[in-house]
């Protein structure tokens, strides 16, 4: 770690220093002070339903095994052998009775404890096979909220519900939308890589001044091919999504952005027309709604379906969209390289057509060949290249500053085109980065 870095000089109220995005020493500090302290989402309980099921996960550059052990407890380990450090498991997911290192054949129970070392006599009579030093390295803290599993590499800190604060809402809302009260994360995900800093992606997720320009090519192509700027029920959903990016700035302002403690925040929904709007009333949706009313009662069902948000950001690297059952995790790889993993959930009990909408949403928005996010990723790469120039050091974040209002739960809210949420993320960033404990 570079002790010379005075991080407090890198973030102002309305600007951020370019080093925050380009300095490898800053990146290493982020791994140590943010990704080793905060609660980081690592998976969903529906991925590991049975004993012995596991999935691979990441916390920053750490390679994690998330496992349901033989007693059906959820465990998370570093994916490395305690002996010589070999990666234990290369599969993305699977089901096992035990884990076995391919190097010297050490094996481990699904609870992480050592099962067997071949020819163990070689260690002499004092060897203690129950010594935790010979077990898989468990992550210090693990907690779930509504099936969403988070880990923290710090042994102390706030519990998960405290950490999430008012941002428990999107987890509740996504789960409550299921007619059977349960959701299931789909095994197949997209992973997009870009040559840029991870924070660009998180900041852009609630940047509502960018869509009109960055996504102009998709907006215009969708308008041209359907002969109309109007968003129609009859347009295929991907076309409605593309056209929605082209709404006027006044409409973006009306969407609103919201900031909470710890860097969390969200934006309202901007899908206000067509069959992708929250207010949709087509036969499939009405069938689904009736199912929800059966379980929750009419008032509660209306309340659940009435929550209309787009990106919900849980700092540092998770984004949820409850309305379309989407999840996106931003994995920092290097100061100038990021992997975005995105998936979707099935609302158990809901009509298949609703699930297919979630699939289409995911493919339209987050496929490597997406006509929408390709242009976002290109811009992040251009930012990374642009700020390598050291002629001027500060990136401006002043839009809408001083025009925020106070909301519930210690939140701040502002017009959609305000840069409030970026300022809020960088405030949290500074707070983590100044804490050297």
């Amino acid at each position: 770690m570079n002790q010379d870095i005075s991080v407090k000089d890198l973030v102002k109220e309305d600007a951020v220093h370019r080093r925050v995005y380009v300095d490898p020493a800053i990146f290493q500090m982020e791994m140590d002070r943010i990704f080793s302290k905060a609660w980081i989402y690592i998976g969903h309980e529906s991925e590991i339903v049975e004993a012995g099921c596991f999935v691979r996960a990441r916390i920053g550059n750490r390679d994690i095994l998330l496992v349901r052990d033989a007693e059906e407890h959820i465990r998370a380990f570093l994916n490395r052998c305690p002996h010589r450090g070999s990666q234990i498991c290369r599969s993305q997911n699977g089901q096992v009775k035990f884990f076995r290192c391919p190097y010297h054949d050490w094996s481990f129970r699904t609870d992480g404890n050592l099962l067997n070392i071949p020819h163990v006599d070689g260690y002499g009579p004092d060897f203690d096979s129950s010594d935790p030093a010979h077990a898989l390295v468990a992550l210090p803290r693990l907690e779930s909220y509504r099936g969403f599993i988070f880990a923290s590499l710090a042994s102390d800190g706030p519990d998960l519900a405290d950490y999430l604060g008012p941002m428990t809402l999107p987890f509740d809302n996504m789960t409550d939308r299921a007619p059977l009260g349960e959701i299931e994360l789909q095994k197949n995900r997209f992973r997009q890589t870009f040559k840029g800093n991870w924070k660009f992606h998180m900041e852009n997720a609630t940047d509502l001044i960018h869509p009109v320009r960055v996504h102009e090519s998709a907006i215009e192509a969708a308008r041209t091919l359907t002969g109309s700027a109007q968003i129609n029920d009859s347009d295929p959903e991907p076309i409605q999504m593309m056209k929605s990016n082209g709404i006027a700035f006044d409409n973006w302002d009306a969407v609103g952005v919201y900031a909470y403690d710890r860097g969390h925040g969200y934006m309202g929904s901007f899908y206000s027309e067509g069959s992708i709007a929250s207010s949709r009333s087509d036969p499939v949706f009405m069938t689904y709604k009736a199912m929800l009313v059966d379980r929750l009662g009419s008032e509660r069902a209306e309340e659940v379906l009435g929550i209309s948000r787009f990106n919900n950001l849980i700092y540092p690297n998770l984004s949820l969209n409850a309305n379309f059952q989407q999840i996106r995790v931003i994995h920092p790889v290097a100061v100038d390289r990021t992997v975005v993993e995105s998936g979707c959930f099935r609302l158990k009990g809901a009509p298949e057509a609703l699930f297919q909408t979630a699939i289409r949403f995911l493919s339209t928005a987050n496929s490597p060949a997406s006509l929408i996010s390709s242009d976002d990723l290109e811009i992040f790469e251009r930012c990374q290249i642009g700020i390598m120039n050291d002629g001027t050091d500060w990136l401006d974040l002043s839009r809408g500053r001083g025009q925020e209002d106070s909301g519930e739960d210690n939140s701040m809210l502002a017009k959609g085109t305000s840069e409030l949420t970026m300022r809020n993320q960088l405030k949290a960033w500074l707070s983590y980065m100044q804490d050297s404990n």
Partner: protein, 173 residues
């Protein structure tokens, strides 16, 4: 493809003339894409045509599983329109690409001899602004002959690394 299969390069059901026409069509399609003649490429698709790049090996269903691309002719038209209008940041500058296609095999012909199912292997090279990369895999074409012209009814691109993490992909394969 199973191991018991005989391995005839030229399916006996496909005449040398038919095979040659199909081979030339596949080559022509690749040339249009190599030369960024996207509109003409798009016009090769039948009205009920579709273009599918699965995200999962051996993917069976494009509706209940994510796809890198799964587009009918309208959505494909949006993709091509965007490529042509010159305002797409991720296509500025436009990548240069080249496709090498081989191991062409006609695996099925319908009884009217109007539809041909064709499988081939491809390598795709792309260069854009200082970065070169490649993709490879298998192409599956369902071709239909109508009034002396061939149309693409279905094009499926099975990338060997479809499940991997990717930088954005701008160009059709």
């Amino acid at each position: 493809m199973n191991s018991e299969e005989n391995a005839p390069y030229l399916d006996e059901a496909c005449s040398p003339t038919e095979f040659r026409v199909i081979e030339r069509f596949i080559g022509y399609e690749a040339k249009l894409l190599n030369q960024c003649r996207f509109k003409q490429w798009y016009e090769l698709f039948s009205e009920d045509g579709s273009y599918w790049v699965p995200a999962i090996p051996n993917q069976e269903n494009p509706e209940d599983t994510i796809s890198i691309i799964y587009e009918d002719k309208l959505l494909l038209a949006v993709r091509i329109e965007r490529l042509q209008q010159g305002r797409a940041h991720s296509q500025t500058p436009m990548p240069q690409t080249i496709r090498l296609i081989s191991n062409i095999e006609v695996v099925a012909i319908n009884s009217q001899r109007s539809e041909y199912q064709v499988v081939s292997n491809f390598v795709f090279l792309e260069y854009r602004d200082g970065t070169s990369r490649f993709f490879g895999g298998e192409l599956e074409h369902l071709l239909r002959e109508d009034a002396g012209k061939f149309y693409i009814v279905r094009k499926r691109v099975n990338l060997i690394n479809c499940e991997d993490s990717h930088e954005f992909m701008s160009m059709p394969f």
